[in-house]
Symmetry: C2
Subunit: 248 residues, 2 copies
Amino acid sequence: MKYELDQAQELSAQIAQAIRDGIMEGSLIVDQRLPSESDLCEQFQVSRPTVREALKRLAAQNLIRTQRGASGGAFINRLSFEDAYGQQITTSILLLSMNAVSFETACEARFALERACVALAARRRTPDQLAAMRAEIHRQSQPGLSDESFCASDVAFHRALVDAAGNPVMSYQLAGAVEAIEPLMNMITFTARKREKIVELHTQIADALEAQDGAATESVLAELAAHTLELAREVAAMRKNKAQAPQL
Amino acid sequence: MKYELDQAQELSAQIAQAIRDGIMEGSLIVDQRLPSESDLCEQFQVSRPTVREALKRLAAQNLIRTQRGASGGAFINRLSFEDAYGQQITTSILLLSMNAVSFETACEARFALERACVALAARRRTPDQLAAMRAEIHRQSQPGLSDESFCASDVAFHRALVDAAGNPVMSYQLAGAVEAIEPLMNMITFTARKREKIVELHTQIADALEAQDGAATESVLAELAAHTLELAREVAAMRKNKAQAPQL
DNA sequence: TTTCTGCAATTGTCAGACAATTAAATTTCA
DNA sequence: TGAAATTTAATTGTCTGACAATTGCAGAAA
């Protein structure tokens, strides 16, 4: 590792960037141990708190893990799909809420991207994935379910649909699109009739996937998209009526 | 803000999580100033270095920004689409390289997701976006271009295609899928004939989008996907021949 | 009124210390 | 000898206190 520190930013940010570059460029490989904190102090000519701030920055991105004790230290972390999902979801939720993205926009993105999964899902869906979808459908048709739980189940259904495509990269890319819509959906009140309609469409999707009929799945999904957008418009109208309703 | 610290993790991680929760839940809003470091020390009953490590974790995720001086401090940051793009791309590249994701898998994901943009792009593409695509096509047909620059231009073309859908959420979600493939594509040697084919398909895509013909665009995109996968198979075969070729 | 100066608040960095944890080396004991 | 217990050394986690650098603001000076 070679490093050149530039006066503009904070030292800890520069050190973190230097190490991050090493990881991305490949000179630091998974499970490799970084020098100890005191060694890093010498290499970068800074104090230990500064080195530690740099390491915490990297830890926040799951790029390293640390271990105490004799043979401890900081190790380059293999970024797992699970960790990446989590980061993706957190970032997506914050991005949508902080930039006042409309339900329509988020919805359009989600359904467009989900449509991309359908062809693959129809070919590859496993019995387990179908079962997961059916389980959520069953949950959604329980009468006493709160709106919040209904939304959560809806998200779980769509996640199972995405996973059915059998491409982990797609599952990762779509994690944000699928999950980040939940806070927005939570502003909707789902009447019994609305739920019934959604459950029916979900059932048709599961059936079409089970029959490995991609075209049919796409068409039902389009219907579900249209229906969801309709709900969104109702919500938007209600919000407009209430004038200054609290923003998300 | 209320906090309960639990002995299991590091203090700085717990403090960071408490603040992160506040942001996600909405009790901390954009541009709001956090208490000063010394105030946070009192609130959480920890020392300043610990508080600072927590703040650096949040800064690494672009959740806060800090400013020195009299009226300085840490402020909740509005997560911009640009910042989110960057995080998304970094995470995607690392995820793919560290988990030895095959070119086929990444390619399948990218083209499937891009297909989702096409219908919208055909409707909404602006003259600027078309011009950007044509500019990249022109660049790709320059004879002296290095393979690396050709790949970079290819990525830029696809980014323009995604942006043409006119949905910033989709652009964000696809940033990773489009960009993270570049390191993988860089292992391909693009002969003049291969480039010619790709440039031709790109031109057809741009033409179809200009004509607002979504169906035609989709079909050319499918052809491009098939062609790219073909290249990937050649590379995989070559790598197999070379037995222990250096992994990415 | 405008400009300058100094003050106070705040983050950035440093130095040194001690606590907690852990693996390995060492000793002890059967 | 072999296994268990103990010590040791390395390393991260946290604390204390200090000083430097930056910046807005109030008050002084022109």
